[in-house]
């Protein structure tokens, strides 16, 4: 499997920056095991902590064979290229008001990959005070689409009416 294909497969499955960090950590661990006399199973074990589909792709692409002095360099090069690509992946920071489950994260990720870019990741943040909606930071631009802001706007616009009702 070429390195580009490996990246395409991985990035298609990766949804958030935290998942990318997990992958990078695993790749780093794998690199550290190069000079230890471990079997292919031991090397593959490094990726077992990742989601199953991602783990399978990485094992297939990088640890299907035992790491020997002969293939060590080429594997290392693959890891480095993959690491570089993953590190340079673009992401958007998405702050939401609730703790999303996996399906919801997938829902948001799919929407972004479909509507914006397949390689775009989500930096998911949680802030209950925004009440609902989301705050988005993309390419250095901040946008506030939260219920809190809508509520504030409504209160600001209709402040006099609200105060009149209170009085």
């Amino acid at each position: 499997m070429s390195n580009s294909a490996l990246f395409d497969q991985i990035i298609a499955l990766l949804r958030t920056t935290s998942e990318v960090m997990q992958v990078l950590t695993c790749l780093e661990e794998l690199t550290e095991t190069f000079f230890s006399s471990k079997s292919a199973g031991d090397h593959q074990q490094v990726f077992r902590k990742l989601p199953k589909e991602i783990s399978a792709i990485l094992i297939t692409g990088l640890a299907s064979e035992p790491i020997t002095p002969e293939n060590q360099i080429s594997i290392k090069r693959k890891i480095d290229e993959l690491t570089d690509k993953l590190r340079t992946c673009k992401n958007i920071q998405l702050t939401i008001a609730f703790q999303p489950d996996e399906q919801t994260i997938t829902l948001f990720s799919d929407w972004i990959k479909k509507n914006v870019s397949p390689e775009l990741l989500i930096d998911m943040q949680f802030d209950k005070s925004i009440v609902g909606g989301a705050q988005i930071i993309a390419g250095g631009v901040f946008k506030d689409y939260t219920v809190r802001k809508s509520l504030a706007n409504r209160f600001r616009i209709q402040r006099d009416d609200i105060m009149g009702l209170l009085n």
Partner: protein, 237 residues
Amino acid sequence: MLIDPLSLIFLTVAVTVLAIVLFFLARAYTRSAEKLHEMDKVTNQLQNQLAEKPIKLLEQAHQQAQEIIDKANKEASEILASTKGYEDNSNKALKAKLVELEQQQAAVFAKASEDMKIAYQNMITQIQEQDINTLKTMTKDIESDVIADFKEFRDVLEKETINSEKVVKEKIDEEYLAMEKDLEDYKKQKYQKIDDDIYKILYRVSEMVLNQGITYDKHKELVIEALETAKKEQVFQ
């Protein structure tokens, strides 16, 4: 040694002259001594006479004085005898005169005393009247002065009171305005704080209500709506 004949003659003449002179001097001395002796005798005689004469004179004077004293005593006795009766008469007349004079004097004194009493009473009455009049005048003057002073004092007091009142009123007005401004500011601050607090409370209540009211699906829907809005606004470009 030879002596000049002229000198010898001259010497002889001189001795002769001296002898003559000496002779006359001795004769004059003798006469003077005799005269002096005679003068001493006369003097002694005179002294003796003088020593005897005063005693005689004294004796004569004593005798004459005694005679005069006796004569005087005799005359005095005669005079005393003659003046005895006159003295008695004089005493009686003098006493009578003294009594008369005393009565006259008493009458004069009584009259003078009465006159003085009347005059004194008149004077006292006059003085009393004058005092009363003076007192009345003084009372009126004092009353007038007091009234004038009181009026002046009242005017000054009134003026000062009005001025003080004016100053106090101005001060009160200033303080009132300052206080009113402070109060207005305070009210504004308080109202603002109350507004803000109520606003915050309302806002927080709304947040809490909305937080509890928004369902999980609604949350997801809101996020997707946010993403779609961002896409429309080309946030991802």
